[in-house]
């Protein structure tokens, strides 16, 4: 017991010395970034990938710093739910005292955190929550770089109707905030244009068997497009089941699966030939030829030995955008908030960023369309 205490004492002393030594470098000022990511439960799907993107960005930025600032990130597990996100945000704000916070992914969690950052006057930079409510008027401390569900949904429905000449659609969506929201926007736009929605099939995140759903879809007659809103895991099963049932192109049918930002790069390799003809919006297109994208992909592959997903790219862009604000003079919560709001045509790996008065990114070049080719590669459709 005694030795343990001694060890503890020595440890604490060593850390304090290090900290003092650290602080002695007057130049090493730090921008503290709090990261609210789901890191336990099924939502850790997001957190694990977000962390990789953040890790790469930090590594690059802290080599030389920005305007004399280094960047430090504190992760907090917000578990994709309102209460744990609230607790995680309060802990971050009280104990880490961040200059800016990034996250959450799940809309419910982000919406629950927003009043807290508002009160604490710390900017929240969100990428992955699609609910329209995140950037409704009156949330002056929350920013979103991802196009929201309405922007994506209207665009998708429009393209489905006009470019694919689709008239009959079947909606498949998970019963979550994001799934229902996305499906609703598509339905409203598509029916307004004159299209017909044959069925809206929602399912829980615990549904195992998509053969039954595919069987039902197969019995609905002629279908042109199947907008699908679900994450990678269930998405794979749906795509394979629809092909097995002979509904989609991948299974010899006519229907085309379409969708918004849900599935990562590499999905088609996992899904195999069932994914043939899938057309979807991605927010990160690794086939883009911009230097920023190429450099990011190369660096990511070197660090993690894998191709980056849109989640990796989102997190990377969040940190890089903050660095850009710091370059433009941001140094604390208030100035970073103002700097974010003043962002003009910032060019990130997912596209460019410029916020409207509700702090929603307005740039549609973040919406990339891609189609899965017979060899499971994808082509960029240049629809935007």
């Amino acid at each position: 017991m005694k030795t343990e205490f001694r060890a503890l004492f020595v440890g604490v002393a060593a850390i304090s010395l290090l900290t003092i030594g650290h602080a002695a470098h007057a130049q090493d000022k730090t921008i503290k970034i709090g990261a609210l990511f789901p890191m336990s439960g099924p939502g850790s799907y997001f957190g694990a990938q977000d962390k990789q993107g953040v890790g790469l960005a930090l590594e690059q930025l802290n080599k030389s710093g920005v305007n004399g600032y280094k960047f430090a990130v504190q992760y907090e597990d917000s578990s994709c739910g309102p209460l744990p996100a609230t607790q995680a945000a309060k802990r971050l704000i009280e104990q880490f005292k961040p200059d800016v916070i990034i996250g959450e992914e799940c809309s419910d969690a982000t919406l629950a955190v927003m009043p807290i950052v508002d009160q604490a006057k710390v900017p929240l930079l969100n990428a992955g929550s699609s609910s329209i409510k995140v950037t409704e008027p009156g949330n002056s401390w929350t920013f979103r770089i991802m196009p929201n569900e309405v922007m994506q949904g209207i665009n998708l429905a429009d393209n489905a109707y006009k470019r694919l000449n689709a008239r009959n659609a079947v909606l498949l969506f998970e019963n979550t905030n994001a799934g229902i929201g996305n499906a609703q926007v598509f339905k409203d736009t598509f029916t307004k244009l004159g299209g017909k929605v044959l069925a809206e099939i929602g399912f829980g995140r615990d549904v195992n068997d998509f053969t039954s759903i595919a069987t039902r879809v197969a019995g609905l007659g002629k279908i042109d497009v199947i907008p699908t809103y679900t994450l990678e895991g269930q998405g794979l099963k749906i795509t394979q089941a629809l092909a097995q049932a002979g509904v989609t192109k991948g299974g010899g049918g006519d229907a085309i699966q379409i969708g918004t930002i849900w599935l990562p790069f590499g999905f088609e390799q996992k899904a195999g030939k069932s994914a043939l003809g899938y057309i979807r919006i991605v927010q990160f297109d690794p086939t883009e030829t911009r230097d920023a994208v190429k450099d990011f992909s190369t660096a990511f592959k070197a660090k993690y030995n894998a191709d980056p997903t849109h989640l990796n790219a989102h997190a990377y862009d969040q940190i890089m955008l903050i660095a850009d604000v710091v370059k433009r003079g941001g140094k604390d919560a208030q100035s970073i908030r103002d700097g974010l709001a003043a962002t003009k045509n910032y060019s990130g790996v997912t596209g460019s960023v410029e916020f409207d008065t509700n702090n929603q990114n307005t740039k549609m070049d973040t919406v990339h369309y891609m189609e899965t080719k017979p060899d499971m590669s994808w082509t960029s459709l240049k629809w935007n």
Partner: protein, 294 residues
């Protein structure tokens, strides 16, 4: 067209149902002998799935061999959980203690698997999953044929074991009356261990067969376990025949609910059925002599 759909959904339901049966049989066997619930049973399913996955991808084993391997992994887990949790707690008298202890085990296992395997779903492809048999509008993948074949054989073997072997008869004797088993000259502790090993081996095996069907993440088993509870009850606690029947019924209810109502309503229908069962026939579909619970 309509009959095709009805038939197709029947096939879908039976495939899913037979997987549910394998999971629920384990729960029911343990309950029959011990009147206790292993909450970590679901995570045995998940670990069985990962065991099969890694045997196939790291060692290059065939799918059928991997199912056997998952069976063994499950058996080992069953031995472990009985030795470490259920045996020490048996004399403490409170039937809820093992339930809570195994909730702890479940949380631990899920998060260890999360640390090891990560949260990104694995694509568990076998050479059978993309091969589809088609005849007059009906489609069945070879994977599903294997599921039905392997689970029918397993269930038949288990049934024969319980009905015709001395050990199996002893197991049933213990589940009905612990004193009788003592009179038969059998050590009940060994029987209990055997039950756990068999039950968990079934769970591991179910995992290997569910893996290509469900979304393979460290949380995969949880989606099955709540339904397995429902099946155990509908079938009558501790009743093997009832559980088999109930599992198939729940599988069919699931596919027909998807077809004619909404997949979001599956749980409401299944658990509505459960409450209805409890109200009109609390001993389960096939009643045995377990009157003391009613």
């Amino acid at each position: 067209m309509t009959t095709t759909i009805v038939l197709q959904q029947a096939i879908n339901g039976v495939v899913l149902g037979s997987l549910y049966v394998l999971v629920a049989l384990g729960l029911t066997l343990i309950y029959g002998v011990l009147v206790q619930i292993n909450f970590a049973h679901a995570d045995f399913v998940t670990l069985g799935a990962f065991a099969a996955y890694f045997l196939m991808h790291l060692v290059g084993a065939g799918y059928i061999v991997s199912i056997g391997f998952a069976f063994l992994v499950g058996a080992a887990l069953g031995w472990l959980i009985n030795a470490s949790i259920f045996t020490p707690l048996r004399r403490k008298g409170n039937e809820l203690l093992p339930l809570i202890a195994t909730i702890g085990v479940s949380v631990m296992m899920q998060n260890l698997m999360l640390a090891w395997f990560g949260p990104i779903p694995y694509a568990f492809e076998t050479q059978y999953s993309s091969e589809v048999i088609r005849f007059s509008g009906i489609f069945v993948s070879w994977q599903n044929v294997i599921i039905i074949a392997v689970s029918s054989v397993t269930i038949a073997l288990l049934y024969a074991f319980m009905k015709f072997t001395f050990l199996g008869k002893a197991l049933r004797a213990v589940s009905q009356d612990r004193e009788t088993a003592g009179l038969m000259g059998i050590n009940p502790n060994q029987l209990i261990m055997l039950t756990f090993v068999i039950a968990s081996a079934l769970a591991g095996m179910a995992g290997a067969m569910l893996a290509p069907v469900l979304v393979l993440t460290p949380f995969a088993g949880t989606s099955v376990i709540v339904k397995a509870f429902a099946i155990v009850i509908i079938g009558g606690f501790g009743n093997v025949e009832g559980t088999i029947l109930a599992g198939l019924i729940v599988g069919l209810v699931e596919s027909y609910t998807t077809q004619y109502l909404d997949p979001g309503l599956i749980d409401i229908v299944v658990f509505g059925l459960l409450l209805l069962m409890l109200a009109i026939r609390p001993t389960g579909l096939i009643s045995e002599r377990r009157e003391e619970n009613v």
